[in-house]
């Protein structure tokens, strides 16, 4: 029986990939090397023996393979399940070798209309189409996008297959006129989708257009089909902040794209089961931002609210290391008590500085050991399948605890340790 729920349709759309090659022939991702398309021959001790289409036999160290590959080896190669837990965590986004050689600057601009302000230079990468307006150069952000993609593919079982051969469109708009023109164009596009509801959505979207540094944008079907894109694009309003886009892992772009990729993988969630979605995506985004960029510049709240608190000293919000230190103190003194259920009810408007940093600690904790990373990947799959965030007791169980209190105790221990940075 064909049954659907509406909340899914208007949620962040799940990625739907194209067809892939044979089930046995798959892409293997090693920590530093290039991706390899090959079939598994067998597991030999600490190595996986593969055969490429040429055919050529190659041997890869299991330790260097992605969590996804190791799951495959356990399932189809009869490998010992301990390989899921024993490999070092690493930072797959940073460990990967140079991947810019495959980038291709396109001759034709992306044209969204006749107005020259809506003509964008385009750079094609394996999984993204990065288009620019203004003097901004796309290559660093494109590399960051590919590296974040690789991190997701390294850890999340369905990510590569769900993505398929589509590309995600990323706008880098430096020029204010172009950003305004894009806002007008998007408003008109939303209005064409029909109905009073969409007219209201269009008006509100345009009103808030200039406020956000990054925003998601639904694309017209014809463009999606013509260029093989996902239905949603990510738009960066760069303005005077071009500096953040000059490094591979600029803090804000890293935060925004990490959030976008995780949301895409988890898909939309039903509005009756979305408590915790904000904490999971926001925590993950801050974790990636601070881990990769070594600092944060993403503000969700007004830092000036807490002038007398350590946490809100000017550098405190700029420097991820200080976040951890300050939260550790507050948890030690009992000023902050991590509680899953309460945190899951928070929305952006409710956030205090310590609340935000607690969410960061949660995102960090979830991915802080190989065991937890494994559980986090399972949590993401659960959300993808069920279109709902598991209740706290179920999250605790995914992480190997019997109760939410046990989970919270372990999380507190993590915050109090020097592993939380």
């Amino acid at each position: 029986m064909r049954v659907r729920t509406l909340s899914l349709i208007f949620g962040a759309c799940a990625a739907i990939g194209g067809t892939c090659t044979a089930a046995e022939e798959r892409v293997w991702t090693s920590r530093k090397g290039a991706d390899v398309t090959a079939q598994l021959l067998r597991v030999e001790g600490e190595n996986a023996l593969l055969v490429t289409p040429e055919p050529r036999e190659i041997k890869l160290k299991i330790e260097d393979l992605s969590l996804v590959d190791r799951q495959y080896l356990v399932e189809y190669g009869d490998a010992n399940p301990k390989i899921l837990r024993s490999s070092r965590l690493g930072v797959p986004e940073a460990d990967a070798r140079d991947m810019t050689r495959k980038f291709e600057r396109l001759k034709d601009k992306l044209e969204l209309g006749t107005d020259a302000k809506l003509h964008f230079e385009a750079l094609k990468t394996t999984h993204f189409l990065v288009v620019t307006a203004g003097k901004i150069r796309p290559i660093k952000t494109a590399e960051m996008a590919e590296r974040l993609w690789r991190g997701m593919a390294f850890q999340h079982l369905n990510f590569r297959e769900d993505w398929g051969d589509k590309r995600k469109l990323v706008f880098l708009v430096e020029n204010d006129d172009a950003f305004d023109a894009l806002g007008d164009w998007y408003k008109k596009h939303l209005e064409t989708l029909g109905g009073d509801y969409m007219v209201k959505v269009a008006a509100r979207t345009r009103l808030l257009w200039d406020e956000a540094g990054s925003t998601a944008m639904y694309l017209p079907d014809a463009l999606v089909e013509k260029l093989g894109l996902f239905e949603t694009a990510l738009v960066f309003n760069i303005g005077d902040n071009a500096k953040s886009y000059g490094d591979v892992f600029g803090p804000f772009p890293t935060h925004s794209l990490a959030s976008s990729l995780l949301s895409q993988q988890m898909g939309g969630v039903a509005d009756y089961a979305d408590e915790g979605y904000f904490a999971i995506t926001t925590g993950h985004s801050y974790y990636k931002e601070i881990k990769l960029a070594k600092r944060t510049e993403t503000m969700l709240i007004d830092a000036e609210l807490y002038d007398n608190d350590d946490i809100t000293k000017a550098e405190g919000f700029q420097d991820g290391t200080s976040w951890a230190k300050t939260l550790r103190e507050m948890v030690r003194k009992g000023k902050v008590k991590p509680n899953l259920e309460k945190m899951f009810m928070w929305e952006q408007k409710d956030l205090t500085p310590e609340g935000l940093v607690l969410i960061y600690s949660f995102g960090y904790y979830l991915q802080s050991t190989p065991d937890r990373m494994n559980a986090f990947a399972q949590l993401v799959r659960r959300i993808e399948y069920s279109a709902s965030v598991p209740v706290p007791i179920e999250i605790a169980r995914i992480f190997g605890f019997k109760t939410a209190a046990e989970f919270e105790a372990d999380w507190i221990q993590f915050i109090r340790s020097q592993n939380f940075k």
Binding site: M1, A23, E25, P55
Partner: protein
């Protein structure tokens, strides 16, 4: 360790002889981890590596090195199990664990299709009257249904909308469409009359549907379909369609034997069924279904099949031949799946389970993105039901629904706890407590086999 590998190879050579004189081999003969209990009641999960008259060597889950235990330290049941354990069989089964469902079924004449998920719905590309179409694979649809606008685009004659079809949200008008052909890979269905309706009916403005047609249970049943969520594959038997595209297959005298042959696809879009007799570095000789041998250069084949040929060896053939004696059930049991008999009522499939500890029936429905209870059934089984302030969409438009919490839902040993799904009025005569949908089946790596009418699930 080297010694063990040598034994494995030898084991394979011996297995051929062993199977030749044996009706079959079952999966419970010691290939996977098993719980052993000692006389003090302590349990461990382990695989037997070897045994002697007085001891057994076990590989314990999570421990690197095997260790030896005296038999007398183990429970009576374990000692009996060890006495019946056969090293050759166990090695063979461990080898078979690495087979995929695809490898097993392709040895049986099935064709596989990679499918895409649209959320949890299964979408397979094909052709309808020669036009590219996206089919939603729907075990919960009694019959196949076309989207009326697509039927017209595909030049099908659609009659007056005087028929009525029913779905989750009530009824909808439908008309008979004449469909000359439906083609999924090599499988061809010809000259069918299929109901067409507006599949966008009741959907909110701006929402696009992902499918052009719903591929229903009558065709899945006819074609002995197998659906594997984990591998994202659906398998069909082209020879059970209305006409096979594979030359000579229908005329083959010994059909079972012919079905043991494999489909090979060439780059020129032709397909042959046969088996490899010999190969050189660049060429291959294939015995095709009409018994003749034909030679090809390897680069004439589609990449998948070219790779299959390049990897082909006589040893591998012997192994696969022996593995052919395994059933899908055997293979999946080796992989830690549980299998369940299903009950067929009309074209619908039902499986027994428990909801909050009470015995119930679920309808197995790949067409449902999310599982859904019948409100009445949810009430009877102590679920916590909220107000009817949600909507579900399907044939018939939209219907009100309520957020429903349950403590436990079990099918066999698989357990889903503390979940929130929706309930709607599915009707008083509904056989089941509700729909076991794509969400649960993806989570539990479900496999559905129409020929055996079984559902396989596993909880990792």
């Amino acid at each position: 360790m080297k010694h063990t590998r040598k034994l494995t190879k030898m084991g394979l050579a011996l297995v051929g002889a062993f199977l030749a004189g044996t009706a079959g081999i079952t999966a419970d003969q010691g290939a996977g981890y098993r719980t052993f209990t000692n006389i003090k009641g302590k349990t461990i999960e382990a695989i037997i590596v070897s045994k002697s008259a007085t001891s057994v060597t076990l590989e314990v889950k999570g421990r690197e090195k095997p260790f030896k235990l005296p038999l007398e330290s183990l429970s009576k049941g374990d000692r009996e199990f060890i006495e019946n354990w056969d090293q050759t069989k166990a090695m063979f089964l461990r080898q078979c664990r690495t087979l995929t469902v695809r490898e097993l079924l392709e040895l049986r004449g099935y064709e596989s299709f990679k499918f895409e998920f649209a959320h949890n719905s299964i979408i397979v590309p094909g052709l309808l009257n020669g036009k590219k179409a996206r089919f939603l694979i729907d075990t919960g649809a009694h019959s196949t249904v076309l989207h009326d606008a697509f039927a017209k685009e595909a030049s099908c004659k659609v009659g007056p909308m005087t028929e009525v079809i029913a779905g989750v949200a009530g009824t909808a008008p439908a008309g008979w469409a004449e469909v000359p052909t439906i083609q999924l890979g090599e499988t061809l269905l010809k000259d069918r009359r299929i109901l067409a309706t507006d599949l966008t009916n009741g959907m909110p403005e701006g929402v696009k549907i992902k499918e052009d047609a719903i591929f229903g249970a009558e065709f899945l049943s006819q074609l002995d379909a197998v659906i594997s969520y984990r591998e994202r594959l659906i398998f069909l038997r082209p020879d059970l369609g209305d006409s096979s595209e594979v030359k000579g297959l229908k005329d083959a005298e010994d059909k079972d034997k012919k079905l043991a042959f494999r489909l090979f696809k060439l780059k020129d879009k032709t397909t042959i069924r046969g088996r490899i007799v010999k190969k050189t570095p660049t060429g291959v000789t294939i015995e095709v279904v009409d018994e003749k041998e034909r030679s090809f250069t390897v680069d004439r084949f589609d990449p998948d099949d070219a790779l299959f040929i390049r990897r082909w060896s006589k040893d591998a053939v012997n192994f696969e031949k022996n593995c052919r004696n395994l059933t899908v059930k055997d293979l999946l049991n080796l992989r830690g799946y549980q299998s369940f008999d299903t009950e067929r009522i009309g074209n619908h499939i039902y499986v027994d389970g428990k909801l909050n500890g009470n015995k119930v029936k679920f309808m197995v429905d790949t067409g449902a993105d999310g599982s859904l209870f019948n409100v009445e059934g949810a009430q009877q089984n102590e679920c916590e039901i909220g107000p009817m302030d949600q909507w579900v969409y399907g044939i018939g438009g939209r219907a009100p629904a309520a957020v429903t919490k349950f403590a436990t839902l079990a099918v066999g040993d698989t357990l889903l706890a503390n979940r929130r799904i929706l309930s709607a009025n599915l009707g008083k005569g509904e056989e089941s407590v509700g729909i076991y949908g794509g969400d649960f089946m993806r989570e539990l790596d479900a496999v559905i086999t129409y020929r055996e009418m079984r559902l396989f699930l596993r909880q990792k």
